[in-house]
């Protein structure tokens, strides 16, 4: 791994909710499938195809074991975004005769929100359930929102931005009770959380490899086959692979990698959940003890163990990221996004616009060490103090001025 960034600053990677390093054990498992067992898994008539097919079968079983389903209920895709698109559009197309209403939350990833918006443009109706200030959707609001013509509920398991984990089992029970298909976007969290699709009443589950220490470019979707049997209208067609749910030659090395990542997750999730949370809590305390006016965004306890989304009042997010040099994180600030739009998740929490621009997301992971986070907290505090000295807002705050009373000069 590179040790310094282009400006010579020591690199510490704390952006695991964006992407994780592929576990070396996963890389090793994948390597034979580039140069030796490189066949198309659907080449039925020779050894290259057979060994590829066997490897895919094994990986399918590994992913199934992680979420408590049968191997035959797992379909491989190109990633979490594709799985979410398939879940939303696939259900809509298949069941639109029954109804054209879908329910989701205000804190979904764009991979769910954008397909739902496109359904709205095609005549569907969507309800976006609000969240409380910690980012939780109330199961009761879900129950109240379900109508006769509701055909899908789509809920994110854990927010990639703030880490808040939804009460998915409660929602699954409600959907079962009302007979509505329940899709859960579980792209984040499978490395530390235990998801059981039967126990939680989940009908469709989207999964991402590169969030659980597997390679980029591959994901999976669980589709329930019994009680009830759920059908999806495919969006990628041509060739008949994956039981007609997702056609196309399989990404064998990627799938092998995802399987290996899933197996490691199954074995280590309980221990990792505790270990990573301890590191995160240590980091969080260092920041809170070192600075006043810092606010954690998201649920304090019901959140992913590595997630820390924190607002540093009076300090703009992108400037803090730049100031921290090689500490690699992301921000909800508009300045930091490609579209100059602030985070919709932060808005949904009811976080004031000014605090949205001051938020930073740190996400610790499997390879984060105690030494790294101690260094990172020092760097963060150093940069933050410097930026506070530079901040006219901090100056006004210290003078006792109520910033909400000011009439700002802007267009």
């Amino acid at each position: 791994m590179a040790n310094v960034d282009p400006n010579g600053k020591r690199l510490v990677y704390l952006d695991n909710l964006a992407a994780t390093r592929t576990d070396p054990r996963v890389v090793e498992a994948m390597l034979p499938f580039f140069s030796e067992h490189f066949g198309n898994a659907h080449s039925r008539s020779h050894a290259f195809g057979w060994s590829a097919e066997n490897a895919v079968d094994k990986a399918r079983g590994q992913v199934a074991a992680l979420v408590g389903c049968k191997p035959g209920e797992i379909v491989f895709t190109s990633g979490g975004t594709e799985s979410c698109n398939l879940a939303v559009k696939g259900v809509a197309k298949m069941y639109e005769e029954r109804g054209k209403h879908v329910i989701t939350s205000a804190v979904e990833h764009r991979a769910v929100l954008d397909p739902i918006r496109s359904l709205e443009r095609e005549g569907f109706e969507a309800t976006y359930l609000p969240v409380d200030t910690t980012g939780l959707v109330s199961p009761e609001t879900l129950r109240d929102a379900i109508r006769e013509d509701t055909i899908l509920v789509s809920m994110i398991y854990a927010s990639n931005e703030i880490g808040t984990i939804q009460d998915v089992a409660a929602m699954g029970a409600i959907c079962k009770d009302k007979g509505v298909i329940f899709h859960v976007d579980a792209c984040c969290g499978l490395d530390t959380e235990t998801i059981d699709v039967d126990a939680m009443g989940i009908d469709i589950l989207s999964m991402s490899s590169h969030k659980i220490y597997g390679p980029n470019g591959v994901g999976a979707i669980y589709v329930r086959r019994r009680r009830p049997r759920v059908r999806l209208s495919p969006i990628v067609i041509g060739g008949g692979q994956e039981r007609g749910i997702r056609h196309g030659t399989l990404n064998v090395p990627g799938i092998v990698g995802m399987g290996a990542a899933a197996a490691i997750a199954l074995e280590t999730r309980e221990v990792e959940k505790v270990r990573i949370a301890e590191l995160r809590n240590r980091f969080e305390s260092a920041l809170k003890d070192g600075l006043e006016e810092v606010y954690v965004n998201g649920h304090p306890t019901q959140r992913l163990p590595g997630a820390l989304n924190i607002s540093f009042n009076f300090i703009e997010g992108e400037s803090l990221m730049m100031g921290m040099g090689g500490v690699c994180v992301s921000s909800g600030s508009a300045c930091a996004s490609a579209t100059l739009e602030p985070s919709h998740v932060m808005r949904a929490l009811g976080v004031g616009e000014d605090l949205v621009h001051t938020s930073i997301r740190f996400s610790l992971g499997r390879f984060t060490t105690k030494e790294e986070i101690d260094y990172a907290s020092e760097e963060c505090l150093r940069a933050a103090r410097k930026l506070r000295d530079m901040s006219p807002l901090w100056e006004m705050f210290k003078e006792g001025i109520d910033l909400s009373e000011i009439e700002w000069k802007h267009d």
Partner: protein
Amino acid sequence: MASYGDKVIDHFENPRNMGSLDKNSDTVGTGIVGAPECGDVMKLQIQVEEDRIVDAKFKTFGCGSAIASSSLATEWVKGMTIDEANSIKNTTIVEELGLPPVKIHCSVLAEEAIKSAIEDYQSKNKKD
């Protein structure tokens, strides 16, 4: 933009003229532009003696490009007359710092901050 520009980083690591002048003094003009909800607030102050800017200070809440733009603005106005400072165009700031298109608005805000400080000074020193 594959990394932060060197000049932008330099203004952050070694800010010029960061700080405050006495806003109550008649020789000081204070301009505050932007808004917290936009993620950009610049305070730029000038100290004027006989129509010439002898000192300037800034404080900025904003991204690296905003900080660099306002820092650069204070560097440039020091020594200028009011009229010269009033003629500073944001495009020269963009050129000097190598700002990408998505950051041009930071330079616009810096230009506005200069003008706002001048306006404040002039309104305190209206000659009847």
